[in-house]
């Protein structure tokens, strides 16, 4: 039975069929991967990180969790609105209408996280800040983007490269920073 299938597949027609199927699958997968790399639609469509940075607002003002624990966190709506309702331009702005509506109606904005790690990775911001890393080393220069983008694919090789560099010649530190259990549990 299986031999017949293979024999058929080895014919020219079979090879073409295999090729077509392969191409279809490959292009669908490529398109799928392309889609995952697009910045997702956010509830406030053109949230301008660069403007906020340009006003001299520190990262930790809106994402204070980064220096305290695992999650950097998103600012509460009331925190956003506390500034924005004092600025006439933003109170009236159509672009900020989603925020204004959410605050008035007591609804939640649903943000889509851009820089995330899979469920099986236990990432802790605090340790990285404490080790002297700056936000932009991983998240890129926010003064140049509107909606946050990932400057690199956050995979394990990328994590480990940095961990190993950070350990340098210190064997004990290397053991700790390359231990599976440091991130996976």
């Amino acid at each position: 039975m299986i031999k017949k299938i293979f024999d058929w597949l080895k014919q020219p027609l079979g090879l073409i069929a295999v090729g077509i199927v392969f191409l279809a699958v490959f292009s669908a997968a490529a398109y799928g991967i392309y889609l995952t790399q697009q910045a997702p639609e956010q509830p406030v469509p053109e949230f301008p990180h660069q403007t906020h940075v340009a006003f001299g607002i520190q990262c930790l003002y809106c994402h204070p969790g980064a220096s305290k624990g695992p999650a950097a966190g998103l600012p509460s709506q009331s925190k956003c609105w506390a500034c924005h309702n004092q600025i006439q331009k933003t109170v009236d702005s159509a672009k900020l209408a989603p925020l204004k509506d959410a605050v008035i109606n007591g609804e939640s904005l649903e943000w889509i996280p851009v820089a995330i790690v899979p469920d099986f990775v236990q990432f802790n911001h605090r340790a990285h800040i404490a080790a002297g890393r700056n936000c932009e080393e991983c998240h890129g220069d926010m003064s140049k983007v509107t909606i946050a983008e990932n400057p690199q694919v956050m995979n394990m090789g990328w994590c480990l490269d940095c961990h190993i560099e950070a350990a340098g010649e210190d064997q004990e530190k290397l053991i700790k920073l390359s231990d599976c259990g440091t991130c996976h549990y």
């Binding site: 299986i2 293979f6 699958v25 009331s78 925190k79 996280p113 899979p118 469920d119």
Partner: protein, 716 residues
């Protein structure tokens, strides 16, 4: 592998398949598409990504242990014991851990059954206003909590029936008997406190104090103190019971006496010990004949003498009556006889001895939950139509009372039954309306600690998360309804809400001396009360009045047994599920400590007896009493008398959510209505028949290889 399908081909094909699968599914982690909602307004005591911890009180049983609950972004994640709470000192039992499976249970009552809280409150107000006060009745759970105080205040002011507290745990603990016996011993009603931790030799007559009895976390700590040889010798535990309980499993000596002879055995030990010690024979022990007792109880005289030797010569002897020993026709005599041993050991009010439990702050005398006889009177009133409206809160009497008491039928004679149940239990199913209370972790409150610590403790409760469903605090509903009803009701509850009521009650403690904290104003006091998880006095307030029990006569007749059948029936409370744990999936999946059975009900039979009857493990048998029958699979239990069978209580729900419903059997259906002298149900005073059904249903259990065939844990 066949000729046509070589290993090489297989690998090629498998490789192609794997590659395709990888390409199609490997487009990134599923969490790529999650969304995150920030707080609309950040609570000031919260911090992004940080856990917040709240002190509160565990409501899984009436003991009143302090909890500290870890919350994260508004969700309750984990319960731990409150390390500074005097009752449990940072520890919890399995039920306390699994309380989160109650909070986030998929089968909670999600809102008032009439759909609208304003209408619900109007309905309660009408019920209060349009009926005569003595036609209104409240049935509540065992815990003496703030809601009980609130309803009591209402009853005192309006002439409404005083609220009745009941719980199956109280029934199986025979609390009325313990209280009566304490009265016989000390001349004062109360719950005895047994200082297990300080004792050297503990004689337990059926007391399952390591399982669900009175205050299990506190007694377990006591047991650890008994065993640990830090400042004294390692203490011994001797357990007298017909079926080895989880507590009996820890005993150094387990003595399977014939059910009904506990009082005789206690007195015989007393007599033998008194003879060894010399001097005059206490009157309490004088009429008993040890040789006769040995024959009747099935304990060898040498064994009795050996124990009497220990009682006579050791210091720190402590005797505890409890469990099935008290739930018999002669239960009160058992309690008195066992307490007399303590008087003989001269341990009353001494470390390692018996005390009367400290009363909670602002409590003037002990108020115990209703005994079964009082519940019978209650049911009779319901059936006679004396109650026009019945409010039920914190208890599930349709399940927890023996079916033969007729509570379910009597509900039909009450015009209006309103349940405040958090879960859709059997009683809620029979009620006209269900106006759900919050879960314990969503509620305000306080609870008196009845026993288990030497200090008077008022344990504090506060919401650790905001209510998940459209539920409302029963106290708030009653206060609002009382305002609408007006008159004496409104005067009795002149509060805007539950929190104001609590503040009024709690701040009354401000002027008391020697408290765990003090404050100058009520608001600060209340804040501390929440922060610390309660308020307690720092002085040992256990009572130890003198006793004359040794000089009184104890009528130690053997217990009488109801029904015809060859087996004594020992119903016992499941140590992991207790009366209300069956709807929590992880409690169901905890193996029973003695049998390791999970998720079902079993009947324990001695292997020899089963062999004679031709019954094998996992055979379903029918157990028939004079009032009912239940079916369950057999567990061959090596540590039970051949003339006794035992069934755990806790399963057999007909409602109560997906994890509890239609699972196992309820032994309360076997119990007929017989009381002991204190009015407690003689639940262990039944004789039953056992019949084979010819059906086999394997019990899911941890021990042995997986019983369904397949893999399992082979205990090495």
């Amino acid at each position: 592998m066949s000729e046509q399908f070589s290993r090489r081909d297989f690998l090629k094909l498998a490789g192609l398949g794997a590659a395709t699968t990888a390409v199609l599914t490997g487009c990134g982690p599923a969490s790529r598409y999650v969304t995150r909602e920030p707080y609309q307004e950040m609570p000031e005591y919260n911090y992004v990504g940080q856990s917040t911890y709240y002190a509160t009180t565990c409501r899984e049983c009436a003991a009143g242990c302090g909890l500290v609950v870890r919350t994260y972004q508004g969700r309750a994640i984990k319960t731990e014991g409150n390390a500074s709470h005097p009752l449990n000192l940072g520890k919890t039992c399995a039920r306390g851990q699994a309380t989160l499976h109650g909070l986030y249970n998929p089968d909670r009552v999600q809102g008032p059954s009439n759909g609208d809280w304003d209408a619900a409150i109007q309905l309660v107000a009408d019920a209060l206003k349009n009926n005569k006060p003595d036609e209104i009745a409240f049935l509540m759970g065992m815990a003496p909590d703030h809601l009980f105080d609130l309803v009591t205040d209402m009853a005192n002011a309006t002439g409404m029936n005083a609220p009745v507290r009941y719980g199956a745990l109280g029934m199986f603990e025979a609390r009325a008997t313990l209280s009566k016996a304490a009265e016989a011993l000390f001349g004062q009603a109360g719950l005895p406190f047994f200082d297990v931790g300080g004792a050297q030799v503990v004689l337990s007559f059926g007391a399952n104090f390591l399982e669900t009895w009175l205050s299990p976390v506190s007694y377990t700590r006591g047991f650890a103190g008994l065993r640990e040889a830090k400042t004294k010798m390692r203490g011994k535990l001797i357990q007298f019971e017909a079926r080895m309980s989880a507590t009996g499993g820890k005993a150094d000596e387990w003595i399977p006496l014939r059910p009904g002879t506990e009082a005789l055995v206690a007195l015989a030990i007393g007599r033998l010990a008194a003879e060894i010690r010399g001097g005059s024979m206490p009157r309490a022990f004088s009429s008993v004949d040890p040789l006769d007792v040995a024959a009747r109880s099935g304990i060898k005289l040498e064994a009795l003498e050996h124990i009497a030797e220990m009682v006579a010569h050791s210091s720190g002897v402590l005797a505890i009556p409890g469990g099935a020993a008290l739930g018999q026709s002669n239960g009160q005599a058992v309690a008195e006889a066992v307490l007399a041993l303590n008087a003989f050991a001269d341990n009353l009010g001494k470390p390692g001895g018996v005390y009367l439990s400290a009363l909670a702050p602002s409590q003037s005398d002990y108020s115990r939950p209703a005994s079964a006889r009082e519940m019978q009177e209650f049911v009779e009133k319901m059936a006679s139509g004396a109650f026009k409206v019945l409010f039920v809160h914190g208890v599930n009497p349709v399940f927890e009372l023996p079916a033969s008491l007729g509570f379910k039928d009597a509900l039909g004679s009450v015009e209006q039954v309103i349940s405040f149940a958090t879960f859709p239990d059997e009683t809620a199913a029979e009620a006209d309306f269900v106006f759900p209370d919050h879960h314990g972790l969503e509620s305000w409150g306080y609870q008196r600690v009845v026993t288990g610590t030497s200090l008077p403790v008022l344990s504090g409760a506060q919401p650790v998360v905001s209510p998940y469903y459209n539920t409302r605090a029963t106290a708030d509903v009653l206060i609002a309804a009382a305002q609408i009803a007006g008159g004496a009701f409104a005067e009795a509850l002149p509060y805007t809400d539950e929190v104001e009521f609590l503040q009024t009650k709690v701040s009354a403690l401000m002027n008391e001396a020697d408290g765990s904290f003090s404050a100058l104003d009520a608001a600060t006091f209340m804040a501390y009360f929440q922060q610390h998880g309660g308020w307690w006095k720092n002085t040992d307030s256990r009572l130890a009045p003198a006793s004359s029990i040794l000089n009184s006569n104890i009528d130690a007749a053997e217990a009488e047994f109801a029904g015809e059948g060859e087996f004594f029936l020992v119903p016992f409370v499941s140590p992991t599920l207790a009366e209300a744990g069956a709807n929590k999936p992880w409690l169901q999946e905890l193996p029973d400590p003695t049998t390791t059975v999970m998720w079902n009900t079993w009947v324990e039979i001695n292997p020899e007896t089963a062999h004679e009857l031709g019954i094998e493990s996992d055979d379903v048998v029918r157990v028939i009493s004079e009032v009912g029958e239940v079916e369950a699979a057999v567990y061959l239990y090596p540590a039970i008398r051949p003339d006794t069978i035992a069934i755990p209580f806790g399963q057999g729900h007909t409602a109560y959510g997906r994890y509890a419903e239609n699972r196992g059997a309820n032994p309360a259906n076997l119990l007929s209505v017989h009381f002991n002298a204190s009015g407690d149900l003689a639940f262990a005073g039944m004789k039953v028949k056992v019949e084979k059904t010819g059906v086999k249903r394997p019990l899911s259990r941890l021990e042995g290889l997986g019983v369904y065939g397949g893999e399992g844990i082979e205990l090495h």
